[in-house]
């Protein structure tokens, strides 16, 4: 979780956006954000078995007058594709924070295909995509994305670049 100071700012931003449900699939890049959500009794942290569950969760929350955010990795975007229909058809607000893998110094080739398709897949399903390259821009971007989602009933994803998060290192370089 070292070097995730931006996560505290994002957490405060989510509180300011009146988010009350945080759906997530565990992710190293957003580990601090997840820990903050789990530790805050004013929020409901909701671990999901698969990211697509989060689209139903967020739509249901909004139908009932509450706001959700979904935290996931780029691989999880692939799991969400058909479920995005629910948010699109109802014009239900959707705010997704997506940790990118497979694009910057990636060690694991199995992360690459979905990562490279992530932005195109989201756009193909009419999700508006913001992309953060630097830690200092993340919180403002999440705030703007949240306002866009909840005020304009849009589906918005904020991609957190792998360069920002730092590539995962498993083994010494060959």
């Amino acid at each position: 979780m070292a070097g995730q100071a931006w996560a505290d700012e994002v957490f405060e931003t989510l509180k300011r956006l009146r988010i009350s449900q945080v759906g997530y699939v565990p992710d190293a890049g957003q580990a601090r954000l997840i820990a903050r959500a789990e530790a805050d009794p004013a929020l409901r942290a909701i671990p999901l078995t698969t990211e697509e569950e989060g689209v139903g969760l967020a739509t249901g929350a909004w139908l009932g007058g509450a706001r959700a955010v979904l935290l996931m990795q780029s691989s999880g975007v692939g799991n969400c594709i058909n479920m995005l229909t629910l948010a699109a058809n109802c014009r239900a607000p959707l705010l997704m924070l997506v940790s990118m893998r497979g694009e910057w110094g990636e060690f694991n080739p199995w992360q690459v295909p979905m990562a490279q398709a992530t932005e195109r897949v989201l756009r193909a399903m009419s999700v508006i995509v913001h992309r953060a390259e630097r830690a200092e821009e993340v919180a403002a971007m999440v705030e703007a994305a949240g306002r866009l989602a909840f005020s304009s009933r849009a589906q918005v994803a904020v991609l957190l670049s792998q360069r920002l998060l730092g590539a995962k290192v498993f083994v010494a370089e060959e």
Binding site: S20, P47, E52, A58, G60
Partner: protein, 201 residues
């Protein structure tokens, strides 16, 4: 494999849903999964506080969870089919962990994919959804089979300790005419939110 429609003890699906919704209290919000659950709920009594899902197969239970957490003073009934529930099976684990006191899930289990030609579903091939729910941690999880069991199940819904619950009701399809509610998502969502006193955005 036995034809799931011919197995003894299966209730008429439409009548089972009618019995269930006759017990609906004023505070109930109803989310239906695509297919016959949506048609049955609409046929019995359309209501602005019914949210009909026409696609996004596998999303009904999780939509119910988000809604139940957002509206803790109301009860949320998710009404769906076995095929729809099977596509979102992980939701049973996710919801059990949250243990929302105001959420109930009813699966109309006919053991078949009624919308696509009646192909046997996994529940006609040995999968027991109530057992899956119990394994996920649902304390109130039952397979409801026959008139008496349905009656006793419905009678218990008024009691707080009966919630949250998961029930798979063994039903058959009697070929009733489909009643198609509105399909437009924005309309259904705005109608629902408006009935809850919420603004469009």
């Amino acid at each position: 494999m036995a034809d799931p429609q011919r197995i003894e003890g299966r209730l008429s699906r439409r009548r089972a849903v009618a019995r269930l919704l006759a017990a609906r209290a004023r505070d109930w919000l109803v989310v239906t999964g695509l297919g016959t659950a949506t048609y049955d709920a609409a046929a019995i009594a359309d209501d602005p506080l019914n949210f009909y899902i026409w696609g996004a197969m596998g999303s009904a239970a999780m939509t119910g969870l988000g809604l139940a957490l957002a509206q803790p003073a109301r009860r949320v009934l998710v009404l769906t089919g076995d095929g729809e529930a099977l596509m979102g099976l992980g939701a049973l684990a996710t919801i059990a962990v949250q243990n929302p006191p105001n959420l109930g899930i009813v699966v109309l289990d006919n053991g078949a994919y009624g919308e696509t030609g009646g192909q046997a579903s996994h529940t006609a091939r040995g999968v027991d959804l109530a057992a899956v729910a119990r394994g996920c941690g649902w304390r109130n999880a039952a397979r409801v089979s026959g008139e008496e069991a349905l009656e006793s199940f419905v009678e218990r819904l008024g009691a707080v300790e009966s919630w949250p619950f998961f029930a798979a009701i063994a039903v058959r399809d009697d070929g009733e005419e489909r009643t198609l509610p509105p399909r437009e998502g924005v309309f259904l969502a705005d109608r629902f939110r408006s009935a809850l006193g919420l603004p469009p955005s």
